[in-house]
């Protein structure tokens, strides 16, 4: 501030109005102290301040008060927000886990398609729609048709009429595609044929008699167990091969002449 005789009265008014900070007030008072002529002016302006100590009490102040709704403050807890959030997350996870445990998700096994891969062709074994008992069957090759009948009876001849002719869907070796292979067991009354399959040979499926069939254990030389029916088609192919070889051998034997020589004499057997 640059105090002078021209502007001192303005600063005295500002001082009386309490508009100066402490430093500025000290400077003005110092100027007045140095210029005594302005002291009465300062005192006169300070005297114009109204007395704030005068007591004024508004009567019946309670009549001005208002009442509002009661607000209940939340009780403070000692639980930290992080721990509370963790507890909530654990409870939610447990609820989700319990929900997942009790939801049904998969159909019965017998409605599933089981994909069986072998070295030659890919076939899909489709279990029967009804309950399939253990495949305790005896495989028998039929000469008349390229079908394989599964005979559950120990006496195969007598049980010819009761043979289930299984539908063996074979595909050429070159054609690699998944085709369902239906298997039959003695306990099955119906065999479902998949119409989408393009079989090379199809055998007529004969429904069995109502009588139940005994389950005969599979021979050990069969590359299939009672529990695992994989490779049945391989068995079919193998049997076909054996049959052909036997036929060839038989034919060759029929055309073969055996000569037995005893010294000078010889005996010919055959054609």
């Amino acid at each position: 501030m640059n105090l002078s005789n021209e502007n001192i009265e303005e600063y005295l008014l500002l001082l009386a109005d309490n508009e100066l900070d402490q430093a500025e007030e000290n400077e003005v008072r110092a100027f007045v102290a140095q210029h005594a002529a302005y002291k009465p002016m300062l005192e006169a302006y300070l005297a114009t301040r109204l007395d704030t100590t005068e007591s004024f009490i508004f009567p019946d102040k309670e009549s001005l008060l208002r009442s509002g709704p009661t607000v209940l403050p939340l009780r403070k807890t000692n639980v930290k927000p992080l721990k509370l959030a963790a507890a909530v997350a654990v409870l939610l996870g447990m609820g989700v886990a319990i929900t997942l445990m009790f939801t049904t998700d998969q159909p019965a096994n017998h409605d599933k398609e089981v994909v069986v891969k072998n070295s030659v062709i890919k076939k899909t074994i489709v279990p029967l729609t009804k309950t399939v008992k253990t495949t305790a069957v005896f495989a028998q090759v039929s000469k008349q048709s390229n079908t394989i009948g599964i005979n559950n009876n120990k006496h195969s001849k007598a049980a010819n009429n009761n043979i289930h002719n299984i539908v063996a869907y074979t595909t050429p070796l070159k054609q690699k595609q998944q085709v369902p292979v239906h298997l039959a067991s003695a306990s099955v009354n119906e065999i479902v044929v998949d119409a989408a399959i393009q079989p090379q040979t199809i055998a007529i499926i004969n429904e069995t008699q109502s009588q139940e069939r005994e389950h005969t254990p599979l021979p050990e030389w069969l590359p299939v167990t009672n529990e695992n029916l994989q490779g049945v088609n391989d068995l079919v192919a193998h049997i076909q091969t054996l049959k052909e070889r036997i036929q060839e051998k038989t034919q060759s034997l029929k055309n073969t002449t055996f000569v037995i020589r005893f010294g000078d004499k010889q005996i010919s057997i055959g054609k």
Partner: protein, 161 residues
């Protein structure tokens, strides 16, 4: 502004508002009604008024009502008599204060209200401008003019200083 905040304004500001109204219009009963009206308006508009603006809101209402009273009277002589009578009813502390009250009564309504807002309530020039609707420069000029009048009244040869 919540109800507790409103009630806090009542307890803290009712006396000062009453003093301002009394000093301005010179009638304690009318001043009491004016205070009640001011708080009623504050309660009705409490949702629009922030808690820290309660004081300026109340004094703005009181100032405008005082100006309305003064305009309704429109007779300076009667106003001066009211102030003289009012001041004579006040407890006599010392001569200076009494003379000052008389000097205050000689001011026009607006100047007197500005001085009271400045000295009784401690408002700054800017806050007084907000309450009265004037600009800061006008407040400063009017106040300085009022102070000079008061000073001249006090230092005249008929009075104390």
């Amino acid at each position: 502004m919540t109800t507790p905040e409103y009630n806090h304004c009542v307890r803290e500001l009712a006396d000062g508002l009453y003093r301002f109204a009394c000093k301005s219009i010179g009638d304690s009963e009318e001043a009491k009604d004016m205070v009640q009206q001011a708080f009623t308006v504050l309660w009705e508009k409490r949702e629009e008024v922030p808690p820290d603006k309660g004081k300026s809101f109340l004094f703005t209402i009181a100032y405008r009502k005082c100006m309305d009273v003064h305009r309704a009277r429109e007779r300076t002589t009667d106003t001066e008599r009211l102030h003289e009578n009012f001041l004579s009813e006040q407890p006599k502390t010392n001569d200076l204060k009494k003379i000052l009250q008389k000097a205050l009564a000689t001011l026009d309504t607006q100047s007197r209200d500005l001085v009271m807002l400045k000295d009784y309530e401690g408002y700054s020039y800017e806050e007084i401008a907000t309450v009265t609707g004037l600009n800061t420069t006008q407040v400063k000029v009017y106040l300085h003019r009022a102070r000079k009048i008061l000073k001249n009244y006090l230092v005249s040869k008929e009075h104390v200083i």
